[in-house]
């Protein structure tokens, strides 16, 4: 177990340390997501019925596009000075590298979401600080980060990586984003755990499929 877990944690910690040093991603991503939330708040009639209908979409649009900014940066940092090759030279299997990068991206996304949710609650006057929503966010973010880690590894070797990543990622990640939007709406409408079950199950199923497939493909993507 430690052959797997220790290097995964080491890679994730390295990514956290790099982000703490530069603070480039957190700042730009938070600004982008916050701006999206504020802009949408002026676009719709602020009645409770309309807000409950559109707010889940606004929330996940902000998370999704902010996430893409973060994914791009996660592998761009690895390309500088050839450190991606350094990582590939480490005596661990390629899936360990994948889960290490995934954990770093997942932590980054979760911190970003936890910082944004209170703003979202204030702007849209919605009770979003709910354990059901937090669990759902964590599950959906795990799957989204899983696909994001794979596709950002693909996109980083292309010339127009900033454009390639959303083009590749969004069609594949859309089932998770749609499920996240639908289940967020269910939470905001006061659905019970039982009513949430179908959507949570769907998100969890996508997570399992995406993580397994991505971890298998990751090595082939990075080797020349």
């Amino acid at each position: 177990m430690s052959d797997f877990l220790l290097p995964v944690l080491t890679i994730a910690w390295k990514d956290v340390l790099l982000e703490l040093r530069t603070k480039e991603v957190v700042t730009s991503v938070l600004m982008f997501a916050l701006l999206a939330m504020v802009t949408f708040s002026f676009a719709f009639d602020p009645s409770p019925q309309v807000i409950t209908l559109v707010a889940p979409g606004i929330l996940w649009v902000a998370f999704t596009f902010a996430g893409i900014l973060g994914f791009n940066r996660a592998f761009t940092l690895e390309k500088e000075n050839g450190s991606l090759e350094g990582l590939l030279l480490c005596p661990v299997s390629r899936d360990v590298l994948y889960f290490g990068k995934l954990l770093g991206i997942f932590l980054f996304m979760m911190v970003m979401e936890l910082m944004l949710l209170p703003f979202f609650a204030v702007i849209y006057n919605l009770p979003v600080l709910d354990i059901k929503l937090l669990l759902l966010s964590a599950l959906a973010t795990l799957g989204f980060s899983g696909v994001g880690a794979l596709f950002s590894a693909i996109a980083v070797n292309t010339r127009s990586r900033e454009i390639m990543l959303p083009v590749l990622l969004l069609p594949v990640a859309s089932p998770i984003v749609i499920a996240a939007v639908e289940s967020t709406r269910a939470v905001l409408e006061g659905a019970s755990w039982g009513e949430m079950g179908r959507w949570l199950g769907l998100v969890a199923a996508f997570d399992v499929i995406f993580l397994i497939v991505s971890s298998f493909v990751f090595g082939a993507v990075l080797e020349e």
Binding site: L18, G82, S83, G86, L89, E223
Partner: protein, 244 residues
């Protein structure tokens, strides 16, 4: 070095290696053998496939066909074990610019699960001459200092096989002397070295055996001992001319 490693007759064994990128083959039915304790210096012109060979040996590039074994580990089936047996210095330092030298070495040391890591980092930093710069961020260091750190990174886990792709690029005379010391030191076991270079004098001085890579295969090889520099340079130039 594990007993399984020592049991292998060759440190590096390559048979019938093919590797291509799109248009044509870069490596073409290449055979290569490097024994334990042997230093093979590989010469070759630009585009002859030296870097591709090093990348393939290091499992950074997947061979199209052929067999690659290092310390007995197969590059396709036992990549992680193979990587534990090698230290690689390439054109780039393979370091994180925003981390300090110490943090970089600590990160790689943990990935390689190096015991008594702090002592090892200190020892290597002194060996390659970066002990004073360990706490500085890599991006603030000169290219030469980054290259020295890169050498320390490659030696961190005391690998029995060293793959060096033009390691002298960007190093000053003092650093070159340290590199020679490192290559000469055995650290308690016979280390195999495969080094690529364009510098004929340095290559011959360091090598036990020299080889020339041309048109994707080993076109010439000879024992370095007693080899005349001028005669070898002429041979090398003839292969460079033929390749163009």
């Amino acid at each position: 070095m594990s007993s399984a490693t020592i049991a292998q007759p060759s440190a590096i064994q390559v048979k019938g290696l093919y590797k291509s990128y799109g248009a044509g083959p870069v490596l073409h039915n290449l055979d290569l053998d490097v024994g334990w304790g042997e230093r093979l210096v590989l010469f070759g012109g630009n585009g002859s496939g030296k870097t591709t060979l090093v990348k393939t040996l290091a499992t950074l590039a997947r061979p199209d066909a052929g067999q690659v074994q290092i310390a007995g580990w197969d590059c396709r089936r036992q990549g992680a074990m193979l990587r534990r047996s090698i230290g690689v210095v390439g054109h780039q330092p393979l370091l994180y610019e925003e981390l300090t030298g110490y943090e970089n070495l600590r990160f790689y040391g943990r990935m390689y699960r190096v015991p008594q890591l702090d002592e090892r980092i200190q020892l290597l930093a002194e060996m390659v001459g970066v002990a004073q710069q360990l706490q500085a961020r890599v991006r603030t260091l000169s290219h030469g200092m980054q290259k020295r750190l890169s050498l320390a990174r490659a030696l961190l886990h005391d690998p029995p096989v060293l793959l060096l792709d033009e390691p002298e690029a960007g190093l000053d005379q003092k650093a070159l002397e340290r590199l020679d010391d490192v290559l000469a030191s055995k650290e308690g076991h016979p280390r195999a070295v495969l080094m690529t270079t364009h510098n004929v004098e340095r290559g011959l001085a360091l090598a036990d055996r020299v080889a020339i890579l041309a048109r994707g295969r080993i076109a010439y090889q000879a024992e370095a001992k007693g080899l005349d520099v001028a005669a070898f340079r002429q041979t090398y130039n003839s292969y460079l001319g033929a390749a163009q």
